[in-house]
Symmetry: C2
């Protein structure tokens, strides 16, 4: 193929160059880089352009920059991974399977103390919440059992929403402004109820994900998602620390 155009910027090129030298082991941890001005000259760019590359690599964790001392290759950190915990509907669709959601329970009730404590982020016992329970299925097979609590104060319109077929997770994802979430992942043995819901045998291993979503104003939703352990797995890749590579 004929080389089209050089559509990558100089600082991108330089960033990739340096990153490659680091991950290839050419520049081991602790290696000191030349000063900015020198590197700028040797790459034939202005100092600002070189600074852009170096600043970015420092932000990504590859470099440590200290005034007066210089720029060094960082020590590899503990294993870090980023994980996309996708919307379940999208997840099933991605596998090319037929997705369905069935609502098992819907109630508007007050939180008890245990729930409020687990939710955190300002949730209080006695606070009114929407309580949902439902089953996600893929090609007719149970795929995920969901237990969810939603804070109506943070999700306007949620009480009017019919979740008979629309999974609340998908709806909330569309409605919510930017929010924060934390996840807790563990394994558990299916109890009788769970086994029945997921068409498993008593005691079969399941993967449980508890997700707490909040905004600056308080808690939005608490969700417990339980997957059959043998049919589901999370995949995490090594930290792509920002989204620049996906351009």
């Amino acid at each position: 193929m004929t080389e089209p155009k050089q559509r990558i910027s100089r600082h991108d090129r330089i960033t990739a160059d340096i990153r490659h030298r680091i991950v290839s082991g050419d520049w081991p941890p602790g290696h000191q880089l030349p000063v900015e001005t020198v590197m700028a000259q040797s790459h034939g760019v202005s100092r600002m352009t070189m600074n852009k590359a170096l600043t970015r690599l420092a932000r990504e964790g590859y470099l440590i920059r200290r005034k007066k001392l210089g720029t060094f290759v960082a020590q590899p950190r503990a294993q870090s991974a980023s994980m996309e915990i996708a919307d379940i509907e999208a997840e099933v669709g991605q596998m090319g399977q037929d997705y369905r959601f069935a609502l098992l329970l819907r109630a508007v009730r007050e939180l008890d103390a245990v729930e409020a404590d687990d939710i955190g982020s300002g949730a209080k016992a006695g606070q009114v919440a929407l309580s949902l329970r439902g089953l996600h299925s893929a090609d007719g097979q149970p795929f995920c059992h969901e237990t969810r609590l939603v804070n109506p104060a943070q999700a306007p319109g949620v009480l009017d929403q019919d979740f008979a077929a629309t999974p609340p997770g998908s709806w909330l994802l569309r409605q919510l402004p930017w929010s924060e979430a934390s996840h807790r992942i563990r394994a558990l043995n299916a109890d009788a109820g769970l086994a029945r819901a997921l068409a498993l045998n008593d005691g079969d291993a399941c993967l449980e994900i508890v997700r707490r979503t909040r905004t600056a104003e308080g808690w939005v939703t608490w969700a417990r998602l339980v997957y059959p352990g043998d049919s589901h797995q999370l995949v995490a890749a090594f930290a792509p620390r920002d989204r620049s590579d996906q351009a």
Copy 2:
């Protein structure tokens, strides 16, 4: 306290301002921002400084910038999380518990086809590898059962290393240059061997993490870590897409 100095840069200040307007819902998804030049003026900075803030927010995922169209608040994406899968020794130490590692098996042997296939990254059947098996314990209780394969070609000195008490994960983390890893997480029922190793009952749910580590040169190590499901959990926070907030 007396306001010391304004030690935060203008672009940091502007970045935080805009990010706050987004996460607070003040600027909802889809909201269009003024053009760069106007925002620069209204914030009293040069266009480059404003550009630095906007570019960063775009890289972090908060903004979508399209030529000719303008800059918009992004739609919240699928739940994304970053997870620190720490070194087990550090993990146990962090809980204030006493850590110990016991080597159960050590062998230098050839990979079979199934193993090579699972490892990927250029691993081939018949290739010589170091095979290890060991048990991590916290305060005398089994904490994690580890099965590991190491590529001696990628880990110089690994064959001379005595792993009787030093966990191979910790050693490798110190020895390796920058590397990539992928993780697979699932739940499984303990079989007889696993139950014995972890002091569990047959069928108890366990959390399995399979980690493949590689460099540009090829595979480095393959590790299967199995935790008792009720005693261990992974915690993931909402994606801090880069390290800028940790400054």
